[in-house]
């Protein structure tokens, strides 16, 4: 008796599932026919989509660099306030590093006072720590601004600014 009941129930469930499946199939076919009616009888691939816009332009824009030719800082301190920034015009294209070189008589011709890491477009560096403090006086320095392409961090042409460093 119990077995009969189970069998009956299973059959009923199977029939119900089959019925639901048929309904779903009918709905899908109807949708495709409706679509075909508007596409001249051709059923389009639903995964096809609009062409994706290229993310990187074929020609890179120029690199915008902001700098100065005179910098005054206090003597005998190595933490100095400054304003170095990567202009927002470079957004999406270039990072930038800044390196201040104190010109001297060494073989290399300079010593590095500080070098920043990559600065993103629109960002500022407001404080740097010098490799050593400087006594009062005026010095010839060079600010090397090196841009890097965001897509692969390759260096671009760069800018070197002659800076008169006034320590007073």
């Amino acid at each position: 008796m119990k077995t009969k009941r189970i069998l009956f129930l299973s059959s009923y469930i199977a029939l119900a599932l089959l019925f639901v499946f048929d309904l779903i199939m009918l709905f899908c076919i109807a949708s495709m026919k409706e679509e075909a009616r508007f596409t001249g009888g051709v059923v389009l691939d639903p995964s096809a989509q609009d062409e994706r816009p290229t993310e990187t332009p074929t020609t890179m824009p120029g690199v915008t660099v902001a700098g100065f030719s005179s910098l005054t800082i206090p003597p005998d301190v190595d933490a100095i306030a400054i304003d170095l920034y990567n202009p927002a015009e470079n957004n999406g294209y270039y990072y930038m590093t800044f390196e201040l070189r104190l010109l001297d008589e060494s073989e290399q011709g300079y010593e590095v006072l500080f070098k920043t890491g990559y600065v993103a477009p629109g960002k500022h560096i407001y404080q740097v720590t010098l490799s050593h403090s400087l006594p009062a006086g005026e010095y010839d320095a060079q600010l090397l601004i090196q841009p890097y392409r965001m897509r692969d961090l390759s260096p671009t042409n760069n800018v070197s600014a002659a800076v008169r460093l006034k320590v007073k």
Binding site: V63, S69, P74, A81, N157, N158, V159
Partner: protein, 178 residues
Amino acid sequence: MKKRNLVLFGSAAMLSLVLAGSIGAVTAFADQTLSSGGTTEGTVQITYQQDNAWTVTIPDSMVIGTAAKVSASDVSIENSTTLKVTVSSDNYSGGWKLKSDNGSGDKTIDYTLKAASDESGLTSAPALEDNGTVLEVKAGTVTGEASIKGEVSGSPATGEDPYSDTLNFSVEVVDDAA
């Protein structure tokens, strides 16, 4: 039993509250101690000044045979001075050279570099030497623009090696009297 548990729970809660309050009080006290008497750390005003500011736009890279723009804007420099932009290259040796990016870079291609106030003037412009002047903007003039262009002057490239040169643009404010 229930009453005992309630008492125990209530005592634990009270103890936690008291402990939390104590920690807060100690912190406040520590702050007060640091901010008064003894060795005081305050804010040191470190001043700086940046003068003779400018913005320049340079080409990302040079494509031989294609003119590129070099421009200056927001030029704010002392009277009787000129913002001068010059160009140089580490590859320069008796002339401008593209170097092969593969191997030791001993394969080179000579090229000439020219600059003019606009693209139409490039044809008749003289060839630049190392540290040649690309653009000058006098004090009182906020903007300036020039075109530069490289042309192959030696043997054309052989094989499929990529050749390139990195240009260094130097920016300097010079006295007009100099």
